[in-house]
Each structure stands twice: as C-alpha cells, then as structure tokens.
C-alpha cells in the first residue's frame, strides 16, 4: 500500500512537473504577439481602377499570392467640409478566384476631428455593398489605413470600436501600424500590418533612402517584441523620383518618364537634371508642379538586400511577424523594380 502511495506521489509530482512545463511553454507563446490569423503571401492594390496587366497577373501566380488588400475607397473631408468617400475603386477587372480580397479603406487623419460614430455604419455598409455588388471574393475582414498620431489616437480608437460594432458577426478588423505608432498603445483591432516603409524624410536631400533605411528602423525594433497585438509586415517594392530645387524638396514625381531626354538629362542612375522647364501633374487630380531647368530629380529605391536584411532583423525580434508578408504594391511599374528571387526571399525566406 505504501508502495502504491509512493508511486502515486511520484506520478502526481511528475504530472505537476509536466503541468508546470506546459504552463511555462504557454507563457512563451503569448497570443498577443503571435502572427496574424490565416497568414498567406499578400499584396496591396492601391489604384483607383481594378485592372490587372499581364505582369501583375504573372506576379500573383508566380509568388502564389493568396490575399490582396484591395483599397476600396478613401474617406476624406471634401471641399464642402463634409466627410465623403473619395476615389472609389472602379472594378474594370476581377482578381483570380483563388485569391481572397481584404477590403481596405484609407481614412485621412483630418476626418478624425468629426464625429465618426455616424460614419462607421456608412463605411461598413459601403464596403459590404461594394463586395457584394462586384462579386468580390472577399474575406470576412475590413482593413483600415490611417496615419493617426498621439493627438488623434483617442478619436481613431473610438472610431475603430464603432466600426467593429457595425461589422457582421465573425468579421475581423485589422489596421495598418506605422513604425512611429509602435510607441503608442495598440489599436483595438484583431491584428496590425506593420508598414515597413516610408521610414525616412523624403524632403531631406541628404537622406539616401527615405523609403526604407535600416538606421531609421532600428530605434523602433526594440518595441516590437512587446507590442501586444498580432502583427504581420508590409515591405515596399516601390521607388520615388523626388524633385529638388537645389536641396529644397519640391515634389514627388509620379509617372514621369525620366528617359525623356528633351526634359531630363541623366547624370547617373539615381540622378537626373531637368533641362526643360515645364509643368507636370503630380497627383490624381490636377495638382501641378513646375519643373525648372536646373532642378534635380533623385531616384530613391531601397536596395533589395536592405529589405531582406530588415526583414530578417524584424524576425529576430519577433519571429511571427513575417508569417505573413504583404508587398506594397501590386503594380507593374513597381514589380519590375526587383527580381523574382528577391520577392521569394521576402515571402519565403
């Protein structure tokens, strides 16, 4: 009997020990810092018309992209002072059926000054209607993008709660997180997408890479491990052509053909000199900038190795962050900035 009791005590100690180990293991795997649910290779699509060319379709296939974060519309304060949808996506095409769409809405920060409780149901209804009306293979998720700051944090988080209250049962809510936002409390969403780009000051003539620079990222990395929100990461594949008058920043040039030798003289692969004065359009609307002969255009594109290095650095601090990688953006103009191997290193290291 004593033997039996002793054996039972041994077994009990063993069970307790096992339970303690199990408890320790659970503590290591805190769900707040896990990766995002149902991770898959993904891209952002940020144009105003959904129409894919062959390069874009090939990219989706080649990299086995499963998710597209598709910008549906912006919400902005109009000229009449009212909050309204803007630049609504026109569905001229559809995505391959195997791809899941995450409806995405960009909200300008100045909207947060308004009572957004009123607009939360409108936004949710508009998103679901757009999904249904255009037969989009959409996830039960809404993704919001907003460059909120300390000043607007309370309003934004209240808005997110109002949006969540409007979402149908079982819908996820996710949001973009900029590096500087890691210093603030996480937003009340199911997961965040860390935007690993736009890290530097693009208006600074001496900033060699304002899109992504390791030195700009490092100060934020220490916050990653403790950031209590599931995160995935978005990496850039875009470049910028920045117009400067001397060292004074003038504009980002979108869609300019720097090979046009009547206007630009190539000094080296990253620098062009303006040799012909002219006005050019720099935005979706009709905003123009004047090119003066003598201005310079600096082409900024992150080196592929730099992106990979930062990708790995983040993984060391927070292994699950790369469980899902999103490339910004699906656009043939950007896709060809890097080769296929590079994308694979980021998607599937």
């Amino acid at each position: 009997m004593k033997f039996v009791v002793q054996n039972m005590m041994k077994a009990l100690r063993w069970i307790l020990a096992m339970m303690a180990v199990a408890a320790l293991c659970c503590a290591c795997g805190d769900s707040d810092t896990d990766g995002v649910p149902e991770p898959a290779p993904a891209v952002y699509y940020w144009r105003t018309t959904l129409a894919l060319d062959s390069t874009e379709r090939a990219f989706l296939a080649e990299h086995n992209i499963k998710k597209v974060y598709l910008r549906y519309f912006d919400v902005a304060v109009g000229a009449d002072g009212k909050i309204a949808p803007n630049a609504t996506l026109r569905f001229a095409d559809s995505l391959p059926p195997a791809i899941e769409v995450i409806p995405t809405v960009f909200i300008t920060e100045n909207c947060l000054r308004y009572d957004l409780d009123e607009f939360a149901p409108r936004i949710v209804r508009r998103v679901t209607t757009m999904t249904d009306a255009n037969r989009v293979n959409a996830a039960r998720e809404l993704h919001l993008d907003c460059d909120w700051t300390e000043r607007s944090l309370d309003d934004y988080y209240a808005f997110l709660k109002a949006v969540r209250a409007q979402l149908p049962e079982g819908y996820r809510l996710s949001a973009t997180i900029r590096l500087h936002q890691l210093a603030m409390a996480p937003p009340p969403v199911d997961y965040g997408v860390l935007m690993v780009y736009n890290t530097g000051d693009l208006t600074d003539h001496s900033c060699p890479n304002p899109i992504l620079d390791e030195r700009d990222v490092v100060p934020y990395v220490k916050r990653l491990a403790d950031y209590r929100l599931p995160l995935c990461a978005a990496y850039p594949n875009f470049g910028w052509n920045l117009l400067f008058d001397g060292t004074t920043f003038k504009a980002i040039l979108y869609g300019e053909d720097l090979a046009d030798s009547t206007v630009y003289y190539r000094l080296d692969p990253t620098r062009h000199l303006v040799i012909q004065s002219r006005d050019i359009y720099i935005a979706r609307g009709a905003e123009t900038v004047h090119l003066n002969a003598g201005d310079s255009v600096l082409s900024r594109l992150p080196a592929p190795d730099a992106i990979v290095k930062i990708h790995d650095m983040l993984a060391k601090r927070r292994p699950a962050i790369n469980s899902q990688v999103i490339i910004y953006s699906l656009d043939s103009k950007n896709i060809n900035n890097y080769n296929s191997k590079h994308y694979e290193k980021i998607y599937r290291p």
């Binding site: 508009r126 255009n134 004065s277 905003e287 123009t288």
Partner: protein
C-alpha cells in the same frame, strides 16, 4: 454628367478652372488666338438647352427649373412646383410629358450611380438601375416623332454612358446620332462619343473632337502633359499638322503672356487656369517655332511665326525682331484665323514701337483700328486683343496728348472695350477745366489727321452738347475755386438738362446753408425715388453758390470785428457743405465715392478754407456765435484725435483718445473748457455730444 454632358471629362478635373473675373494683376486680355472657333461653346450649349424650356414655359421657368428636373418626384408629378412640369400639365402636352419623365428617370439613376456616393448600389440595385436604363433606352430608340428626336438620341447615348457601354455608344454615334441634323444635342452627343473613344483607348481621336467642339476643359485635361514646349514638340513630331497644335501653341503663348502679367507669380497664373511659362522655355520655343515656320511646306507657318513674333515682343521686348517676324507671318500659309492673328499681333508690336504720331503713322493706326472694329462684335478675341493693344500701345503713345487720349478713351467706351489703363467717363470727370476745354475744341474741330477723324466717330455716339459741356466746365471751375469763371458757363445750362441728371432729386432736397456740424441732411428713400413728379430743380444751385461765395468773400475783406466773424462763419458753412465732407458735394463734383481722396491736386480745398474761416469766426465776442464756431472747429476733420473702438467679442464700442496734439485735440480742448465753464448754460448740441463727453473723461 447631368448638366454638362458635353464636358464629359470635366469630372476628372479637380483643380479650380479659369475664373474670368478672378485673379490678380492686370486683366487677362490675351493676344494670341489661332484656334478655330467652335460652333457652340460649352456654356452656350447648356444655355441653349435651358432656353428651349424657358421658351416652352413662356418665360416662367429659369435655368434652376431645368437643373432641378432631376429632383422632380415622378409620383408627385401632378403637384410638382417645377415650372416645366407645370407647363407640360397646363398644355396637356403628352409628348413632352413622356420625354421629360424619361429624362427624369435617367437623371435619378445617374445620380444614384455616382461613384463616390455614400449609398453604393447593391448588385440588385445596380442591375435594377441598368434594367431601367435599358428600358429608358428602348423607349428612346422607339420614339418615332420628330420633335424630340435629337433629345431622345441624346438620352440613348447618356444611358449607354451611364452603363459604361462605350462600344455601344461608338456604334450608335456612327450609325444614328452622327446623321442627325446639326444641333446643340448633336454636339452633346459628339462629346459623349469622344468620351467613349477615350475610354476605348482612342484618345487621339477624342482630342480632335474636343478641339472641334471647343470643349477646352476636356481638351486641357487630355493634353495636360503636353502644355509645354516638350509636349508641343512631341505632338509636332507625331503629326506636324495635328489639330492639337493650334490649341497647344495658343495655350503656350497666352500662358507666357499671363506669366508676365502676373510678374512670374506661379500661384496667380494658376489661379486663372494657366500654367506659368518662364523665359528659358520661351526662348527655346521661339527657336523651335522659327524652325518649324521655315520648313518647306509648313502648313501653319503663319501661326508658328506669329507665336515667335509675339513672344519676342512681350517676353524679350525685342520689337524690331518682333515686327520683322510678324510682318512675315502675315504673308505665310495658315488659316484665316492664323493670318488675322498675325495682323493683330503686328498692330501691337508696331504701335508699341511708335514714339510719336506723324501723318502716316496716324493713317496706319486709324486703318488698323477700323479693321479691328469690323470684327469686334462677332469675335470676342478681337475685343480682347484690342484691349491689349489699347493698354500696351495706344494709351502710352497718346499719354502726353490729352485731347487725343480722351478721344481714344471715348472710342474704347463706344465699343465697350474694357478699360484697364483709363476710363473715359472717369477721365472726363477728373481732367482740369483747361484740358476739358481743349478736348471740347478738339472734338469740334473738323481738321486733324486720319486718326482724329476716326476717333471723333466714337465721341459722336455719346456727344458732348452745349449743356453738357457748360455744366461740366462750370463744375470743374467751381472745383478749382474759380467761382466767377464758373458762373459764365453755368448760366448757359438749361434747367431741363439739370433735371435730367441722376443727381437732380438729391440736389433738390439739400440746402448748402445748413451747418453740417449741427445737422446732417441724411440720404433717405425719397432721394432715390423717381415718381415722375414736377421737375425737381427750379434753380441752378451752383450759380447761387458761386455768387454767394464771391459776395461773402468780398464782404469779408471789408468787414471787421464781430461782423467779419459772422461773415466768416457763414462762408465757412457753405464752403464746408460744398467740400467732399459736406452734404452738397455735387456743387463741385460729378460723383462721390468713399474711395476718392477728399482733395486732390488742382482742386480748391473747401474744407481747409472753412477751417481758416472758423478760426477767424471763433474770435467773436458774440457768445452764441462763438460756441457754434468752437463746436464747428471741433468737428473739422483735421488731425482727428478720437477714434471709435469696437470690441469684436461683445460688439461694444467706445470713443478713445488716440493723440494729444494737433488741430482736433486743441479744438476739442477749447470746447471742453467752454463746457466746463458754461455748465448747464451750454447749448444741447454741446452737452449731448458723445465725442466731447468721452474726450472730457481723459
């Protein structure tokens, strides 16, 4: 999409477009015009559509009713307050009712399909809208009548566009709409056709249509990346005879002109919908334009060389070169618009190059002005160019020849030419009596050169007859303080003439003997009332005034003591009333404006003379007169020391002392001293003066 269907690309423009009356700097009188004139301007398209319905309702409807058709609730058709609907019901016009109901159906759907509406249509709603659009289209296609044939065809194309059925629109235009007779509706359909082409990857064809339609908003959007020398070169290399080139060249030259007019201020230039063009690009353009013009067989050489010539003139100020280029341009190939444009530019450059006016120069200028006159009313750009020529060349040329300059102003006014550098009527009013007398002699002289004879035709449209001349001369002389001379002219003015003047009623209700500081003769409703009653003016006040001034001045010279003080006070009273501060300013002026200086060089300073006289009057021992003179002196607008300050939070105001020296401070101090001494014996106008009360608290 609803209101300016022809401007189908307008929705793409988010920037403010040209505001004709806005902006800074000098007005936007553009010289260069080579584009073919559109048959219908976009603005006149909507005006034509509006006019149809306004006429239909016998003038009861206005453009608001046309634009508000989309708000008509079809379920409440019979009780709608829209004038068009009311007219249809009143006329029992079934054909119009059917058309308008279908149009309203379309307008409602097009609103619901607006891309950025909060209520994004569901798939079912969208399908329903598309079904309804198809239904409206079928009804429109089934229309067999003639009256609304074009409107129904337009409805067909609108419904196709709303559904994004661009290929169908292209087919419908080619097979049906293009064969309809010319009308504003067909122009609108052509705009929609261009929109369909744009959306079908045929932008080059669309541009041509926008150019032909004169839809410069859409064209500007489509050519937005080509509005510069690089773009012009690109288009030229694509097709040297491209229909876009006249638009691009005209745009470039006028942009360069606008940039100079705005002193290079980019923001100001863009405010008017232009783009800034600076010197380096202008120089390169001139070189390019000369090269193109020199090429053998260059079809529009006149346009290219006149662009180079005008830019040499306005940008480089190289007149000799400009004249040489423009003279040649007038002989080169091009459309009639291009040749006429070269001639207008040549007039500008040559007239700017003239430093004096000899017989042959005057004859040439008269001939060219007559040529400009001939097309001024049919072509708006001729008016614009003539304004430019007037401001830049002719006004400076005649600046030292006052009679001719005034005659030229008159010629401009007779043709409604905008007057930036000088206004005929303002000049007529402001010139001295001597200059006006010379002008009168000039216009009544039959001699002179060819230009003089031509300019007098302008004055003939607004003749200066004897009454007008004598009244103006007399008034000018009063203003100059030449009272005796004034009477000789004023006595010749008929009372009938005075009663026809706009000021007649106001003048008849004013008395210049009233002491302005004691009583204000307030402008009231009756001053503006014209009830056709008996002539307001029974005597020429100006003559009476002049005579009284002369008489009192004479008496003052001979008087001494209290009598002199009394005369001085009476004279001060009437002179101050005739000043710009008085209620009887019309005695010496033809008009009054808050913005005018009360006194200007060459004018008699009535108020200053009144101050001198009051200073003399105050020395009286007559207590009653002295206090009035003290009070009047404190009223004089010289070195004011009290300012009314308003708190914009509470809107409470109070008088504040702003200085402790100067005439007004001393006058108020003396008046305050009197009030303290006199106590309750002081007259009410003194004790109740709020400024004095406030002054005495300091």
């Amino acid at each position: 999409m609803r209101k300016f269907i022809a401007l189908s690309l307008l929705a793409l423009l988010t920037a403010a477009t040209a505001l004709a009356c806005g902006g800074w700097g000098r007005p936007h009188y553009y010289m260069f015009h080579v584009c073919p004139e559109p048959q219908e301007q976009p603005s006149s398209i909507s005006a034509s559509v509006n006019k149809y319905w306004i006429d239909y309702t016998g003038g009861k409807a206005d453009s608001y009713d046309v634009n508000a058709l989309g708000n008509v609730d079809l379920k409440k058709w019979s009780t709608s307050d829209n004038e068009i609907v009311k007219a249809i019901i009143a006329k029992n016009d079934y054909e119009a009712e059917l058309y308008v109901k279908r149009l309203i159906g379309y307008l409602n759907i097009s609103d619901a399909l607006a891309p950025d509406a909060w209520n994004y249509p569901t798939a079912e709603e969208k399908a329903d809208y598309f079904n309804r659009l198809a239904g409206i289209r079928a009804q429109a296609m089934g229309y067999k009548g003639e009256r609304f044939k074009a409107q129904y065809a337009l409805l067909v194309m609108r419904t196709y566009m709303a559904q994004g059925l661009y290929t169908d629109n292209i087919d419908y235009w080619n097979k049906t709409a293009s064969r309809l007779p010319a009308s504003v509706y067909r122009d609108m359909m052509r705009g929609i056709y261009a929109n369909a082409l744009t959306n079908s990857g045929r932008a080059d064809e669309a541009r041509v249509i926008y150019a032909e339609l004169g839809d410069y908003q859409s064209l500007r959007w489509m050519l937005r990346k080509k509005r510069n020398l690089a773009g012009i070169k690109e288009e030229y290399n694509r097709d040297p005879n491209s229909l876009m080139l006249p638009y691009l060249v005209e745009d470039f030259v006028n942009n360069a002109q606008e940039t100079l007019d705005c002193d290079g201020n980019k923001e100001s230039v863009e405010y008017t919908g232009h783009r800034a063009v600076y010197n380096a690009e202008v120089k390169q353009f001139i070189t390019f334009a000369k090269q193109v013009a020199a090429k053998k067989g260059s079809r529009d050489a006149a346009m290219w060389l006149s662009a180079a010539g005008l830019l040499e003139h306005i940008s480089n100020r190289n007149n000799k070169e400009a004249i040489a280029l423009l003279e040649k341009a007038t002989t080169l190939s091009g459309t009639q618009e291009m040749k006429d444009n070269a001639r207008r530019c040549l007039i500008l450059a040559k007239a700017c190059d003239m430093h004096s006016l000899n017989e042959s120069g005057a004859a040439w200028l008269a001939g060219e002005l007559k040529w400009l006159e001939s097309s001024m009313y049919t072509e708006g750009y001729t008016m614009s160019a003539t304004s430019r020529i007037a401001d830049d060349a002719i006004v400076p040329l005649l600046a030292n020849d006052r009679p001719r300059l005034m005659a030229f102003y008159s010629w401009m006014a007779s043709h409604d030419i905008a007057d930036w550098s000088g206004d005929y009527y303002a000049t007529l009013d402001s010139v001295s009596s001597a200059d006006f007398d010379r002008f009168f002699s000039y216009i009544n002289d039959n001699g002179g050169n060819e230009l003089d004879r031509m300019l007098r035709t302008g004055i003939a449209k607004d003749p200066i007859n004897a009454d007008r001349f004598n009244d103006m001369m007399g008034t000018k002389l009063v203003r100059e303080g030449k009272f005796a001379a004034a009477i000789t002219y004023l006595e010749k003015v008929s009372l009938n003439y005075l009663n026809e003047q706009g000021i007649a009623r106001y003048a008849s209700r004013r008395d210049y003997h009233v002491e302005r500081w004691l009583k204000r003769q307030i402008v009231d409703y009756d001053d503006g009332r014209n009830d056709g009653a008996s002539p307001a003016i029974k005597v020429n006040q100006k003559i009476q005034f002049c005579k009284e001034v002369l008489q009192l001045e004479g008496e003052l010279k001979a008087a001494t003591g209290n009598k002199a003080c009394d005369i001085a006070y009476r004279l001060a009273t009437i002179l101050f009333q005739a000043s710009y501060y008085g209620d009887c300013w019309y005695l010496a002026e033809s008009s009054w404006s808050f913005y005018h200086d009360p006194v200007s060089p060459g004018k008699y300073d009535f108020a200053a003379r009144a101050v001198d006289l009051l200073d003399r009057a105050v020395k009286t021992t007559d207590a009653k007169l002295r206090v009035k003179a003290l009070y009047a002196r404190a009223y004089m607008p010289v070195d004011p020391c009290m300012d009314y300050e308003v708190d914009y939070g509470s809107w409470d105001g109070h008088w504040k002392l702003t200085r402790t020296d100067g005439y007004n401070y001393l006058a108020l101090s003396e008046l305050a001293k009197y009030r303290r001494t006199a106590g309750s014996k002081a007259p009410r106008y003194v004790t109740r003066c709020d400024i004095l009360t406030a002054f005495m608290k300091y």
